[in-house]
């Protein structure tokens, strides 16, 4: 089943993007984008993550599920939270983890990306977790790896960050319950450059969220956003009103080309999340941020550290969600499946 809201293809990386990630049984083989996946599959990821959340709260935070599997972390772009939580997730599943330091690897001696990958394949890796600053990088790799290898997109350019979106959905569900239909979710800030926002919008639509809003200056709203089924606000006070969930985005200065913003101070004046602005949302609204946060640029310190903030909970949830995705991808049912234990 393909969700209608997310069907109009990926303007960034092409039409088949969401196609290659399912195997012929409809199970997740790669996780490259949330776009095009079914409500059922996303719910399955969230339910599975719930099981792993229990493990992460136990004294022994490890299960033997992926023993003997090797997972390579390929981070072509800086990351702290994502890389570390992927690594912890893999280790808590008992997989072996290879952190390939791209900046000191042979890639920097002139080896091509495909040569690097083929070498890792020759080391019998089972999964590549890829972060790259080019949109479509994970798809490019998924289209070229050996059949037995799975690829997980840990963020590609401005395109997608599917595990982040899923950990955000998981955080929303844990705080606000299973019925997304009654929720108003506001995404605030640099939507133009945000792979997180793109993936979140797809996920929220697939989970049938009642109302998804995007709040940003006109210069930071991508073209075609209306097709994504969101309500666009240029005024923060209007957009945040009665929201159940407020998701702040980081101002991605490193991706900005040209004069999109007058200054950080002015941005904070207009779109920064202050206690005063937050009071316009519902009294029990939660505040989220994918991190890293720029205090005083998109969010006031007292809000980031306040009682409505679930920013650190998102980090914890990232481990459970990544465990869920890794185990679903590597534990796919084979054609010869049978067997029941008793």
């Amino acid at each position: 089943m393909v969700n209608k809201a997310s069907r109009p293809t990926d303007s960034l990386i092409g039409h088949d993007a969401w196609n290659i990630q399912l195997d012929k049984n409809g199970q997740l083989k790669h996780f490259l984008t949330v776009e095009g996946l079914s409500t059922e599959l996303l719910t399955n990821i969230l339910d599975t993550a719930e099981s792993f959340a229990n493990i992460n709260e136990q004294r022994v935070k490890k299960v033997p599920l992926l023993r003997g599997k090797t997972i390579a972390n390929l981070f072509f772009e800086a990351s702290t939270r994502t890389r570390n939580t992927f690594e912890l997730a893999a280790k808590r599943l008992s997989a072996d983890v290879l952190n390939v330091n791209i900046s000191t690897s042979a890639t920097s001696k002139g080896e091509t990306l495909m040569d690097t990958l083929q070498n890792l394949q020759a080391m019998q890796c089972d999964m590549f977790v890829v972060r790259h600053n080019a949109s479509g990088a994970a798809h490019y790799i998924a289209n070229r790896v050996a059949p037995g290898i799975s690829v997980i997109n840990a963020g590609d350019g401005s395109h997608a960050h599917p595990t982040q979106a899923m950990l955000d959905m998981f955080t929303i569900r844990r705080n606000k319950g299973h019925d997304f239909g009654r929720l108003r979710v506001a995404i605030v800030g640099d939507v133009l450059h945000s792979r997180v926002a793109r993936s979140q919008i797809h996920a929220l639509n697939i989970l049938n969220t009642g109302n998804v809003r995007v709040i940003a200056p006109k210069t930071l709203i991508p073209a075609g956003i209306d097709d994504m089924g969101v309500e666009v606000f240029n005024n923060m006070e209007e957009g945040i009103r009665d929201a159940d969930v407020v998701i702040m985005l980081r101002l991605q200065k490193e991706r900005m080309q040209g004069a999109l913003l007058p200054s950080e101070q002015e941005y904070f004046q207009m779109y920064g999340l202050t206690e005063k602005r937050l009071s316009l949302a519902k009294a029990d609204a939660i505040v989220m941020h994918p991190g890293p946060i720029n205090r005083g640029v998109e969010i006031e310190s007292s809000v980031a550290d306040g009682s409505q903030s679930v920013i650190l909970e998102q980090v914890t949830n990232g481990i459970s969600v990544r465990m869920a995705v890794m185990s679903m991808v590597l534990g796919r049912e084979s054609e010869t499946s049978e067997g029941e234990q008793a």
């Binding site: 099981s51 229990n54 004294r59 534990g331 049912e333 010869t336 049978e338 029941e340 234990q341």
Partner: protein
């Protein structure tokens, strides 16, 4: 096929046998652990009948199964809630049906990830033919000989009933 006694009858039988065994082995204050889902129902009933002090523990062995790569993830795995200190404890491990022995193997692996118990006593409501591992129960309600293509399943928790297919 031989007649299967009702779960209630077998539970009474298990209770008596287990009482005797605990006395024989000089075990007091055992830790009762039920395996999700059917085993937890049986353990709950036994726990009440024996009036055990220590709260009942449960184990979901989904993450320890040896056929994970063949049959994939089972979402909504229940949490295991073993107490933090199981070193030197006498554990009574309870399951509904003992068949291949693989579930018990997985359960013991999980238990040993938490510590080193003094002993594990295995209690099963029904023990059927088809063992694939050298595992046997200490206390059994009923032995059943079933063909490989026959399956017995406990449904519950209210009422507890056997379904044979």
């Amino acid at each position: 096929m031989e007649e299967i006694a009702t779960p209630e009858t077998l539970l009474d039988k298990l209770t008596e046998q287990l009482k005797t065994l605990l006395v024989e082995r000089s075990i007091d204050q055992p830790l009762m652990v039920g395996i999700h889902t059917g085993g937890a129902w049986i353990a709950n009933a036994l726990h009440q009948k024996l009036s055990l002090q220590e709260p009942l523990s449960t184990l979901d062995i989904s993450f320890y199964r040896d056929d994970f790569s063949r049959i994939g993830m089972n979402p909504q795995v229940k949490p295991s809630n073993l107490p933090s200190q199981i070193d030197d404890r006498h554990i009574i491990l309870v399951d509904d049906v003992l068949h291949t022995g693989r579930t018990i193997r997985a359960a013991m692996n999980e238990i040993f990830d938490y510590g080193r118990p003094a002993s594990i006593t295995l209690v099963c409501l029904v023990e059927r033919s088809g063992r694939e591992l050298p595992i046997q129960a200490d206390v059994v309600g009923q032995h059943l000989h079933l063909d490989n293509n026959q399956h017995i399943k406990l449904t519950g928790p209210e009422p507890l009933e056997f379904v044979v297919e």
